[in-house]
Symmetry: C2
Subunit: 163 residues, 2 copies
């Protein structure tokens, strides 16, 4: 069981810590702005965004869950909340009797439209306007590399034997 852990060197550790801190900073700011200005938690905002971009402003639950990176359960609870507020409505799916279709209401669209400008401004303040165009390009490629690694290598843990 004498496993040699490849600890992070100083440069790596600093990058990791700063990255974590930067993410916290950005998301704390954007979440706070959304809640403050429109009572929308960030995840709910994304749900409304995806609905607003769908044809007919409606999506089946599973599609919406995939688009928003939500579990079915989480989405079900979330849509229940949004329905209580009158921003989303559930309908039966005509082609599959198991299916439910989430439809953005006019009120929901209005809430989204009201929230969007402030959200974009906050994203600018927290991230975009803080970086040079070159850095934005770098961040784009770094993010793509991270995502590519995450989608393929998530099960690698099981194959790692430490000895």
């Amino acid at each position: 069981m004498t496993t040699t852990t490849r600890w992070l060197n100083e440069r790596e550790q600093r990058a990791w810590r700063l990255f974590v801190q930067a993410c916290e900073s950005v998301f704390a700011a954007t979440d706070a702005q959304l809640i403050r200005d429109s009572g929308l938690p960030h995840g709910y905002y994304e749900i409304l965004v995806h609905l607003s971009e769908a044809p007919g402003r409606a999506l089946r639950m599973t599609q919406l869950a995939t688009a928003s990176a939500y579990s079915k359960s989480r989405l079900s609870h979330a849509v229940a909340r949004l329905e209580e507020r009158g921003w989303v409505e559930r309908r039966d799916c005509p082609t599959d009797r198991r299916g439910q279709i989430a439809q953005l209401t006019d009120e929901g669209f209005a809430a989204l439209a009201a929230a969007a400008p402030g959200h974009v401004e906050q994203v600018r303040r927290s991230l975009i306007d803080v970086l040079t165009p070159e850095q934005i390009e770098q961040l784009h490629e770094i993010s793509a590399a991270i995502i590519a690694a995450g989608s393929g290598g998530s099960r690698a843990c099981d194959e790692v034997h430490l000895d």
Copy 2:
């Protein structure tokens, strides 16, 4: 009141969405690894890390809250959970009768020591080993710029070790 919103152009929007997705990917993977391997939510891991590095493996609640970027309430609930698991103990502060001191137990230290190598490995898989040394340097500077921009209106920074 009708100021024209500076919407994101296509390049900026792609960078923002990819960044969000990359962060979700990294933190979902590291959180999942911690919970799977040691039952530790990420925030709790950080609490134990800070305690482990404090003199006597003990800190007053307020200091611990500051170090972990936790609110007092959140920390109070969290320490209550950790106490139930036997990883932390509360003591009265000898110099201030309002005070409570959170002390890491031997079991808590053992749990932390068991969790650390897997955590580091996951950070490598999700982030460090995915990027070139040059990209790590870029990410470092990007993160620093983000933090510098955000620190104007946000809270004090924390120190993270044992990553």
